[in-house]
């Protein structure tokens, strides 16, 4: 069943969109990532204009992350205080990101910058996660018990210390704020919630427990993508409500399934899987930049779009 999207001005199959939403929502529920890093390239691949894909995807992540947050709140696995610090940084970053995005649109370099951001960040995060999870698995096997993460690093030497009770941490507010800001900027430019950067940062940099990370990450993502949606709607008018609704119906259902399935799966193996997925997307996008294209020209609107 094909549906004509009023803002994107293209006709796409509604079932493909539902399936994409469901699959990506599932990952979101398991890992605490928004899933935008997969969804946005996929949307562009099926013919949605990049500007619309980025803005609409932000709107969909609001739905799936809220759905996930609710499930985590009931389990008391959301650190609201940490979430709010991340959020404060996220909102600042989001405002910066939308401005950068609007600027890039006028110079015609949106595609390039978005692709470069993806390749760099997906590559970085994917490799780090892969190495870390493999090491953790090895150690766990050797010693026959779960490894203890380092609790003290340079992060603990910074000022403005705060106590985060749910996470059982007493650290400076600066690192979470900066993490939030970076994620917010990327969220606006790349059309992602930024969970794939924030989740590893929270685990490895802030030293939070994996159980708390998923809920807290989704909590922050929900607000940042909400702000991003609003700013894109106002600045670029590129949020396609029809596309968003179809995606989010699939997304929220997938998330609920993921949230239920996630805790029963083996964490380290799951993380390896996510790392491989992230790296696969990275390699695909990287190749697109390097391999000689079959069409050298691209068309853009003179005015209007």
């Amino acid at each position: 069943m094909n549906i004509y999207l009023p803002i994107a001005e293209v006709s796409v199959n509604a079932f493909i969109l539902l399936g994409l939403g469901g699959g990506v929502g599932f990952l979101s529920g398991i890992f605490g990532v928004g899933g935008g890093f997969l969804m946005t390239p996929l949307l562009i691949f099926i013919g949605i204009p990049p500007a619309v894909a980025v803005a609409t995807e932000a709107n969909q992540i609001v739905a799936s992350s809220f759905s996930g947050v609710l499930a985590n709140i009931r389990r008391k696995t959301v650190d609201m205080k940490m979430g709010l610090v991340l959020l404060a940084g996220g909102l600042v970053g989001s405002a910066i990101g939308v401005q950068i995005f609007a600027g890039l649109r006028t110079t015609g370099q949106v595609d390039l910058v978005v692709a470069l951001c993806y390749v760099v960040f997906l590559g970085l995060v994917g490799s780090l996660m892969l190495v870390e999870s493999i090491n953790a698995m090895r150690k766990a096997k050797k010693e026959g018990r779960r490894v203890q993460r380092r609790r003290h690093n340079w992060v603990h030497g910074l000022p403005f210390k705060m106590r985060f009770r749910t996470s059982n941490l007493y650290i400076s507010a600066i690192p979470p704020f900066l993490v939030g800001m970076l994620v917010g900027t990327l969220a606006a430019i790349m059309g992602v919630g930024g969970g794939f950067i924030m989740v590893p940062a929270m685990i490895y940099l802030l030293g939070m427990a994996a159980v708390i990370v998923v809920g807290t990450s989704l909590f922050q993502i929900m607000f940042v993508t909400g702000a991003t949606t609003l700013m894109h709607a106002i600045t670029n008018q590129t949020v396609d409500a029809v596309l968003a609704v179809i995606l989010l119906v699939g997304g929220v259902v997938g998330t609920q399934i993921g949230v239920r399935v996630g805790p029963r799966l083996k964490a380290e193996q799951l993380r390896i899987l996510l790392a491989l997925l992230v790296l696969a997307v990275c390699v695909k996008l990287g190749l697109d930049l390097v391999v000689t294209p079959s069409e050298f020209f691209t068309l853009g609107g003179g005015a209007g779009h």
Binding site: N2, I3, Y4, L5, P6, I7, E9, V10, S11, N59, Q60, V62, A63, S64, S65, F66, S67, G68, V69, L70, A71, G108, Q109, D111, L112, G226, T229, L230, M231, H232, A233, I234, Q237, V239, D240, A241, V242, A244, V245, L248, V252, V253, T255, Q256, I257, R260, L289, V290, T292, P293, E295, F296, F297, T298, L299, G300, G301, G302, A303, G304
Partner: protein
């Protein structure tokens, strides 16, 4: 049936009380209004009409060209260039006018049935509809950019030349079907019908189809542009409601 009557009416109008010895063509379209609803997946435009020629002509002496032109707009064309090992978009060239849709249907090969001067005068062939008046000085090959617009839009199904798809009956009636794809933009689509003999245009006829967004799609588009802030907030509320509904639904039916 109504089409048949319409064609007959056209034919009668032509043979009727007109006394001047003139070659004439009249035509009509199967629809003059097209609604882009959310379930729009493209449609077929039926173009039909009647011809009257002076004197007796051999059966293959006359030709008909039907050209449908979508709203014309400026287009920014960028060429990818290799820099630091990766392909990036170069500076843009502004094409002054390019139709968002262009379909030409003819009774025979375009080059054979219309002379170059007539083609130029009426701007029928595709390379004459895309206009690049003033390219920036740094552009080495301006033709390359114009050709790119034609090529890309042809791949997207927006530009087409369908030679030999206009059926001519008894040098008196003609009909053709033109496929309008799903990725149409809003605006007025002009239909031009040319009656030709020996490469010369004898008569032309014009009609139009108004393509408009309709239903919920129109409402969404208008809201997004007229009240962007409200639109953004409503989008977020819808997302939150959907997230909550799914959560509530699963908690009720699949508690864990």
């Amino acid at each position: 049936m109504t089409r048949l009557f319409a064609i007959l009416a056209l034919a009668i109008a032509l043979v009727g009380p007109v006394t001047q010895a003139e070659d004439r063509v009249v035509a009509s379209l199967s629809q003059h209004n097209l609604a882009l609803t959310t379930d729009f997946t493209g449609t077929e435009l039926f173009v039909y009409g009647a011809i009257r020629t002076v004197g007796d002509l051999p059966a293959d002496a006359i030709d008909v060209i039907v050209a449908i032109t979508g709203p014309t707009e400026r287009v920014n064309v960028r060429k990818k260039e290799r820099q630091f090992g990766i392909w990036i978009n170069g500076k843009g060239v502004e094409i002054d006018a390019a139709p968002s849709f262009y379909a030409v249907a003819t009774t025979g090969p375009l080059r054979d049935i219309v002379s170059w001067t007539e083609d130029f005068r009426h701007r029928i062939a595709l390379d004459l509809v895309i206009r690049l008046i003033d390219a920036p000085a740094w552009v080495e090959d301006r033709e390359e950019y114009r050709a790119a617009v034609a090529r890309i839009r042809e791949e997207q199904g927006l530009y087409s030349l369908q030679e030999g798809t206009v059926a001519l009956i008894d040098n008196a009636l003609f009909e053709t079907r033109i496929q309008l794809p799903a990725n149409l933009v809003e605006g007025d689509y002009k239909a031009r019908i040319f009656l030709l003999k020996d490469g010369t245009v004898l008569d032309t006829y014009e009609d139009r189809v108004e393509v408009r967004r309709a239903g919920i799609g129109r409402w969404i588009y208008t809201s997004a542009h007229e009240w962007p802030a409200v639109y953004g907030i409503v989008s977020i509320l819808v997302a939150l409601a959907a997230g909550w509904l799914a959560s509530a639904f699963f908690r009720t039916f699949f508690p864990n």
